[in-house]
């Protein structure tokens, strides 16, 4: 059986790895890393920012008790019955579903030194670069070590000149948010990290600085400066520049050197290195699993008698040439949304370019063929129909055509291409990608 996965973000990789584990011959076509490479270092299954509108509920409105992450997930599906989780969790236990998915992802990433830390049973509080709190229960090595609740003292490490991070405003915001959440007060401070000259020149280029910290000579040069940050019971929160390839080694080294806990802040672009590490580790897992990789964009999908039979790949390096044709028995579409190009503006109107699928917003209204600016509302933090635009699927994750029937019997959809949820608002983006990607892979393997 030959399966083709279109899209190389977390959803596409999860589908390809599940297919490969079921002894299918798998090809993965990817134009670029997509929104996965812009992710922040947390695995947002049911993450939330309690002090911002639109996040998942943190407290049960009936009993006024704090909700465990697994229950938050259920609450999200009740609040929005069209949420992909509703399809994915039907007849299943959300906690065990997420636990299983997190364990599978952990096994894929572990050889590259990236682990999935935390659990869906307990809410963990992480701080991001701006000092905002996130209830992120699962996070990758780097940000994942930075649970604030168990720290006696929190110290933000200020790297002078580092582009994209300013410790002092972050500290003020963190203090205010910790107080608003009602976590017990603890000392908060900014500690400056004096970079040696060789590294100080790289402060303006965080990716290069991170790359250098992968090398043990660069770390030796930094040893004295790190030792000066040591204090018992302290949690040292670095901006997310602790290595580009092996963050686990850099964190273990820094933690040994300082003699206290070390973690990264949850990053945001342009400090998007956590997403890049995830992308690298996924690519390594694909290579180990023997998934054949194609660089390029799928330009067309051939359908015959209600089944997808082949894709055509346009290699961007030779646009003039004839597109390569890949025959297939099963197809997984994980083309993403706006970053990946799964949903595009074509002739000024919203469209799904590969199968001409209808698109739906949060309220279940058709939005394809509509001008995007008509789907944006003035309320900055409010719901934006545009940002929830995506396809709708049946219970087996097959995308539906306008008549409500699956577009093709052997085509499955996963990740941000699924509509009716806004990943930036409810912070379930990577969770939907992982859970739906795995499920799409399993369903496709049965074709």
């Amino acid at each position: 059986m030959r399966a083709v996965v279109v899209g190389g973000g977390l959803a596409g990789c999860a589908a390809a790895l599940e297919l490969a584990a079921r002894s299918a011959e798998v090809a993965l076509v990817r134009a670029g890393p997509g929104a996965t490479a812009l992710s922040w270092g947390t695995l947002d299954v049911a993450a939330g920012s309690p002090l911002r509108r639109g996040g998942l509920p943190l407290v049960d409105p009936a009993s006024e008790q704090p909700l465990a992450p697994g229950r938050r997930l259920v609450a999200a599906t009740h609040a929005n019955p069209a949420h992909p989780y509703t399809v994915l969790m039907r007849g299943r236990s959300p906690e065990s579903e997420v636990k299983e998915a997190a364990a599978a992802l952990d096994a894929w990433l572990a050889p590259a030194g990236l682990r999935v830390l935390g659990s869906v049973e307990q809410t963990r509080w992480l701080a991001d670069l701006r000092g905002a709190l996130r209830a992120a229960d699962l996070a990758f090595t780097g940000a994942g070590e930075g649970d604030l609740a168990s720290a006696e003292e929190i110290a933000l490490v200020d790297v002078p000149g580092l582009a994209g991070f300013d410790a002092r405003p972050a500290l003020r915001m963190l203090a205010a948010e910790l107080a608003a959440i009602g976590l017990p007060a603890r000392p908060l401070r900014v500690v400056p990290l004096a970079l040696p000259d060789a590294l100080a020149a790289l402060a303006g280029e965080p990716a290069r600085l991170a790359r250098r910290l992968d090398e043990s000579e660069a770390r030796q040069a930094l040893r004295a400066a790190i030792e000066r940050l040591a204090a018992p019971g302290r949690l040292l929160l670095f901006p997310p520049v602790l290595g580009l390839e092996r963050v686990d080694r850099v964190i273990a080294w820094a933690s040994d050197t300082a003699g206290c806990r070390v973690a990264e802040l949850v990053g945001a672009p342009p400090l998007a290195l956590a997403g890049h590490r995830l992308d690298r580790a996924l690519q390594a897992a694909l290579a180990r699993a023997g998934v054949e990789a194609f660089a390029g964009r799928v330009s067309a999908i051939e359908l015959e008698a209600g089944r997808a039979v082949a894709v055509r790949i346009q290699d961007p390096a030779r646009e003039a040439g004839e597109p390569e044709r890949l025959a297939l028995d099963a197809l997984v579409l994980a083309t993403g949304r706006f970053v990946g190009g799964g949903v595009v503006e074509r002739d000024g109107r919203l469209a799904e370019p590969l199968l001409e699928l209808p698109l739906y917003d949060l309220a279940g209204q058709r939005v394809d063929g509509i001008r995007p600016h008509r789907l944006v509302r003035r309320d900055y933090e409010g719901e934006q129909p545009l940002f929830a635009a995506g396809v709708r699927t049946d219970a087996r994750l097959r995308p539906l055509a306008a008549d409500g029937a699956p577009r093709a019997a052997n085509a499955f959809a996963a990740g941000d291409l699924l509509g009716s949820f806004d990943p930036a608002r409810d912070r379930t983006g990577l969770g939907v990608a992982l859970l739906s990607g795995r499920r799409a892979g399993i369903e496709a393997a049965g074709c």
Partner: protein, 172 residues
């Protein structure tokens, strides 16, 4: 309210705005008349370039415009530079510089769908590329790592071609 109106009139008189106002009214009236008579004049784009082509305005190369507008999505994360350094070309390239330059070079014109004068410098210095594109190994490592999916290798190649003066020089 009357005082406000008088203030407006005084301001008009003081700035010489009467001329602008009458020009506005004349062109507006002309536009309405043409619409009423349903006149189809010459192709407006051809008319524009007949009037302003001599000033050096041209339609941009569509491929170049597409690449430069794509470059605007750059987050300046620097991963392309890191990947390029890993490839280890000599002299080492900084693809990010090319992307940042591309996202700025004449970008307001390109958004309008126009290209102004060709860049003056032949060695590319004027448009912010300080490494020759011939050093590029065309391995596409930068393109494949870009979180914003910018076709960096081709942006770089296009800019280098611009710097090399391959585009026709501006008239005059």
């Amino acid at each position: 309210m009357l005082r406000g109106y008088r203030g407006f009139l005084r301001e008009l008189a003081r700035t010489g705005g009467w001329r602008a106002l009458s020009l506005q009214l004349r062109t507006g009236a002309g536009h309405v008349l043409r619409r009423l008579r349903r006149e189809r004049g010459e192709d407006p784009i051809a008319l524009f370039f007949r009037n302003y082509g001599a000033d050096g305005l041209r339609l941009p190369d569509p491929e170049r415009a597409r690449l430069q507008l794509a470059a605007e999505a750059c987050l300046v994360c620097g991963l392309c530079s890191v990947e390029c350094a890993r490839v280890g070309g000599a002299p080492p390239l900084d693809p990010r510089d090319a992307v940042v330059a591309a996202a700025r070079l004449e970008i307001d014109w390109l958004r309008l769908g126009l290209a102004p004068f060709a860049p003056a410098s032949a060695d590319g210095a004027a448009i912010g590329i300080d490494s020759p594109a011939s050093a590029c190994a065309t391995c596409r490592a930068c393109t494949l790592v870009c979180p914003a999916a910018i076709p960096i290798e081709r942006v770089q190649e296009t800019l280098a071609r611009l710097g090399g003066g391959e585009l026709p020089a501006a008239p005059r």
